[in-house]
């Protein structure tokens, strides 16, 4: 175990090489060939981990400037976002603001302006923190992740991407290339709500909701939560239980059912008990807010 003496947040206390590949193919080659290499994009998590010796690396492969990973584009049925797009770029993207307001709302709540200017959507997902702000919205959007390696390309639904705290399905030599988010013709109300210690903080608990309703009855509901389980989770049981209900009833039932779908723990930010309690309120609030937004759009 490394002691306090091995930490250094002024100057990274380990020596490594740095590569900035010209294109994705070179990045993939480096990743295959350089022993102990790690991909870095924004560095907002990785550099902290290096300073606290949570990881040791031999080389960094910086993909943050690769044009192939820096795009937001709108296709017929989906929006595609390159993995090296920064969180602030998503906040400011007109495509994202129009088509993915839920993702934008979550992105706005991530870190500080300074952090958002560095942090990337790909980094936020690959770090695989249970509290990753972009994960719950992407879960309810049914996003698909495109993973590339020298061996080829594969697509993974986001629900299958996270395998545990800090663990994802990425294999050695693989890089997350882009996130593809289906754009529905239906109109949804949306809401991302997050509890935190201060207004610049990682979530204690967070909820993303997409909602469609007719005549006051829920016809489609999608709910996901962050920071209350080993990974960000989709709450399908909650979704099933509230479709067909009137909004008042739906909010109440959602709040009751959510406890069955989460398994929070105690950590630096909060307690398991509080997360369980707060999730009930958070889900109900998010359902209500999504519904109210839906009504506004309807008008």
């Amino acid at each position: 175990m490394l002691s306090i003496n091995a930490f250094n947040t002024y100057r990274i206390p380990q020596i490594f090489d740095y590569y900035r590949p010209r294109d994705l193919r070179e990045a993939l080659k480096l990743l295959e060939s350089v022993e102990g290499a790690k991909v870095v994009a924004g560095g907002t998590d990785l550099v902290v981990d290096l300073k606290y010796r949570r990881i040791e690396v031999r080389a960094l492969i910086d993909i943050s400037r690769l044009d192939e990973l820096r795009f937001i584009k709108l296709e017929d049925s989906y929006v595609e976002i390159g993995s090296a797009v920064t969180i602030q770029e998503i906040v400011e993207s007109s495509i994202a603001r129009e088509k993915l307001p839920l993702l934008v709302e979550a992105a706005e709540s991530l870190g500080s302006w300074q952090i958002r200017n560095l942090a990337t959507i790909g980094g936020n997902l690959c770090t695989a923190s249970p509290a990753a702000d972009t994960a719950p919205p992407l879960l309810v959007y049914d996003a698909e992740l495109e993973l590339v390696s020298l061996r080829g390309v594969r697509t993974v639904p986001i629900e299958k991407f996270f395998t545990g705290p800090k663990r994802v399905v990425l294999e050695r030599g693989e890089i997350l290339r882009s996130i593809r988010i289906p754009v529905s013709r239906n109109v949804f109300g949306w809401s991302y709500i997050k509890l935190r210690r201060t207004s610049f903080d990682v979530a204690k608990a967070s909820v993303a909701v997409l909602l469609d309703a007719r005549d006051g009855y829920i016809v489609d509901a999608r709910v996901a939560l962050g920071s209350v389980a080993p990974t960000p989770v989709r709450a399908r049981g909650v979704e099933r239980s509230i479709v067909g209900l009137k909004i008042e009833e739906a909010a109440r039932v959602a709040s009751e059912r959510v406890v069955n779908e989460i398994s929070p723990i105690d950590d630096a930010r909060s307690t398991a008990w509080y997360r369980l309690q707060a999730s009930k309120t958070l889900v109900s609030d998010a359902v209500w807010r999504a519904y109210e937004r839906l009504l506004k759009i309807g008008v």
Binding site: N5, F7, P13, Y52, T198, R269, W273, L282
Partner: protein, 778 residues
């Protein structure tokens, strides 16, 4: 009435600070310097066997071990007189008593080499003990002693049951007062250990002059006590230690003493004979040196049916961590704060400071007053409620105000209150906050509930007094008129950012009738200044400002004397001095004789040309009183009954600081005092795992501070100043820094009660605790 006092002028160091060009310790560089790193104990309580430096030395590093530093105990804070100074620290230890305690240090030509050398040090531990973390368990006779003996002054004393210091006090007939009380309330309070989180981590840079003089730049609130301590520990004459004044990136008590990092840097410099820079990383700063004291208080108090307070009893147990900084004085001041808040007819006090294997505690803004005030103001609120008396009326009837004897900094520092703005502040503040519309928590319903609370507090202006007492408190100032009439102001007094030195500039300007722009604060060191004890106890303006005024007054006398010669008046007493806006200078003149007129600049020039000598004054000043600055804060909060989240809605903060010298900077102290108090109430806490490692708290990622979005906006924060005049203060001024934060926890806690109907007796009052209490109440 005044030319400059009470008016706004841009602070003298403002551009340098905003542009980042101002130099802090972290920015000091000396050619050829080595970079230091500290080996911090990975165990909270252990005994070191061997320090193997060979690996580090092979890398070219200089290694400092406990055997390389003088085997001499000391206390990093030189504020008590020698016979009341408890000494249990060493520069480097063979018996680490808290996680992070320095055992060794390295210095190398580059930072990377220093880091590698640090990691190459091999420290064997002969024994690793279970740390003693609970102060109540620490007092059990079967618990391993953290210190077997320590020094008090020059003699050894045994430490029994890990009790570092103890103080008992009683006054009046408590039993009979209790008997005649209609209501008695007893409550227990717990105030967490809080980290100062000054934005600049602590550090030091040292070099040796060719003549052997040691020059030191360091984060400190006191350059002279740092000089004295270095001299005492390393046996260097004081005139061979020059501690230079350098900007301090936030104090709040974190550098009220000489930080250990300073003494380690000196050790590395003396051993290597090279300049050394040793600055802490944030994680080191958090574990290595100093958090607040942790309080366990039990308060009992009574009152009669008609609303008179009868008695007050305080049992005060303080967890001081592994070493003493002011374990003994804090017991006296805690008593002082308690006694001086209300007119108890009988008082009983038992204070104990207890050692544990945690980071040592030192003063944090308020030095115990925020915690004691919270406990007392909660119990006072509860007494008033029991008696069905308005809490404001109850306070007005019972508080210690004008004409009363007042202690402040403990039993040896008593004086009579001469200025008191409490009635004015209560009247105005309650009007603005809408106190009369305040409803009982019992009638409140709904999810988001608002509540209004009040907290009344005070702080002393300095620690002066009529008798010498057990505490050292005096200061000095040098004012020098240059040959063109511009002024150099030379002081050792440190400005933590509150604008203390800008107040001094105005005080000097006011006395000499010259514009503040003509006064320059000279950045100097211990070699070129007269002694100042420390910027602490909210004394910077009251004591330091008065010293500056007295020096300016002496200078003025000389100016008038020279002017009298030039103008050929019968005596200096025939002259008047006034500020001339057009000339932007002081003019000295004979009333009714328009031709008999000269500017101060001209006097200075003539004195130079005619070989009359320099006009200057050096003053050493001890204040004979330490008057209270009163603060009355009204706070409105909103509590989400479903998540326990609380938000500040409005603050009406009233302060009685006598004459207000710099309105916008004084308001800034109040805003900042509220901010830190809010942070203490809702978030700040250093807690520990079973092995004595600070839990989750070795970075600002998890030691969260409120942001611009979490505190009231300028529109929701109203500052009131009482219209008082303190006869002993410079131009009627008193202190402010700590008074600004002292009533905050109390006001917020009372507001939370008014919103929810639930009282919390432990800080921080996190959403987790609030929600739990709400659910338990349902």
């Amino acid at each position: 009435m005044f030319n400059f006092i009470g008016r706004s002028f841009p602070r003298h160091d403002g551009f340098a600070k905003a542009s980042g060009l101002a130099e802090f310790t972290f920015d000091v560089e000396v050619p050829g310097m080595l970079y230091g790193r500290i080996f911090k104990s990975p165990h909270a309580f252990a005994r070191v066997g061997r320090v193997d430096a060979s690996g580090a030395e092979a890398l070219g590093a200089v290694v400092l071990t406990p055997d390389d530093v003088p085997d001499r105990l000391f206390n990093p804070r030189l504020i008590s007189i020698e016979e009341d100074t408890f000494k249990d620290w060493r520069v480097l230890t063979k018996v680490p008593r808290y996680f992070g305690e320095p055992i060794a240090a390295v210095a190398a030509p580059t930072e990377d080499t220093a880091q590698r050398a640090l990691e190459a040090l091999r420290v064997d531990f002969e024994e690793v003990y279970d740390p003693v973390l609970d102060p109540f368990k620490a007092m059990s006779p079967s618990t391993r002693p953290i210190h077997e003996r320590v020094m008090r002054g020059g003699r050894w004393i045994e430490v029994k049951n890990n009790i570092a210091a103890e103080l008992r006090y009683s006054e009046g007939d408590l039993d009979s007062e209790e008997k005649r009380s209609s209501v008695v309330i007893e409550r227990k309070f717990h105030a967490s250990r809080r980290y100062h989180t000054q934005l600049e981590p602590k550090g030091a840079v040292c070099k040796l002059e060719p003549d052997g003089t040691l020059v030191v730049w360091t984060t400190t609130q006191t350059i002279h006590n740092t000089k004295i301590l270095i001299s005492q520990v390393y046996g260097i004459p004081m005139n061979r230690v020059d501690v230079r004044k350098v900007l301090l990136g936030g104090g709040f008590g974190s550098s009220i003493h000489t930080n250990l990092v300073t003494l380690i840097a000196v050790g590395l410099c003396l051993k290597s004979r090279k300049p050394v820079k040793l600055v802490l990383t944030r994680e080191e700063d958090m574990v290595h040196d100093h958090v607040s004291f942790e309080f366990y208080m039990k308060v009992r108090a009574g009152a009669t049916r008609d609303g008179s307070i009868t008695f007050g009893e305080l049992d005060n147990l303080i967890d001081v961590g592994a070493h003493q900084i002011q374990a003994y004085p804090i017991l006296g001041t805690s008593l002082g704060w308690f006694v001086s808040l209300y007119k108890w007819r009988a008082v009983k006090y038992h204070g104990r400071s207890v050692y544990t294997n945690k980071v040592p505690s030192c003063a944090i803004r308020g030095y115990g007053a925020p915690e004691i005030t919270w406990a007392v103001e909660t119990v006072v609120d509860e007494l008033a409620e029991e008696l069905k008396i308005d809490p404001l009326e109850f306070r007005l009837a019972n508080y210690r105000g004008r004409g009363e004897i007042f202690w402040g900094q403990g039993p040896t520092v008593k004086s009579i209150i001469r200025s008191d703005g409490v009635p004015e502040l209560i009247a105005k503040g309650s009007e603005i906050i809408g106190w009369k519309r305040r409803e009982s928590p019992r009638v409140k319903t709904g999810r988001f509930r608002r509540g209004v609370g009040v907290g009344r507090g005070f702080h002393t202006s300095g620690a002066g007094g009529p008798l010498s007492g057990a505490i050292i408190d005096y200061t000095g100032a040098v004012v020098k008129v240059n040959e063109d009439g511009s002024i150099d102001y030379i002081t050792a007094l440190q400005d933590h950012g509150g604008g203390t030195l800008d107040a001094h500039i105005k005080i000097i300007a006011e006395e000499l009738k010259i514009p503040p722009g003509k006064v320059r604060v000279v950045w100097s060191g211990t070699s070129t200044t007269v002694y100042d004890v420390c910027t602490h106890a909210s004394r910077g303006v009251f004591t330091g400002g008065e010293a500056a005024r007295r020096a300016a007054l002496e200078v003025k006398k000389k100016v008038l004397e020279y002017a009298s010669r030039i103008l050929d008046s019968v005596s200096p007493e025939a002259l008047r001095i006034e500020y001339d806006r057009e000339l932007s200078d002081a003019v000295i003149f004979v009333e009714g004789a328009p031709e008999k007129r000269i500017t101060l600049s001209e006097v200075a020039r003539v004195a130079w040309q005619r070989n009359w000598g320099s006009i200057s004054a050096s003053v050493s000043y001890r204040a004979t009183v330490a008057p209270p600055s009163f603060t009355v804060y009204f706070v409105e909060v909103e509590v989400d009954m479903e998540t326990g989240v609380i938000k500040p809605i409005r603050v009406v903060a009233g302060a009685d600081i006598g004459t207000v010298i710099s309105p916008e900077l004084a308001a800034g102290q109040i805003h900042g005092g509220f901010a830190i108090g809010w942070s203490w109430t809702v978030g700040d806490e250093v807690s520990y795992l079973e092995n004595g490692v600070p839990a989750h708290r070795m970075s600002l990622t998890d030691y969260k501070l409120p942001t611009s979005m979490d505190l009231p906006s300028d529109e929701d924060f109203i500052v009131l100043f009482a219209s008082t005049y303190e006869p002993f203060g410079p131009f009627g001024a008193k202190g402010l820094g700590e008074a600004a934060s002292n009533p905050v926890i109390a006001a917020v806690a009372n507001a939370i009660y008014n919103a929810t109907g639930i009282r919390f007796y432990e800080i921080p009052m996190t959403p987790e605790k609030i929600l739990k209490a709400i659910k338990e109440g349902e």
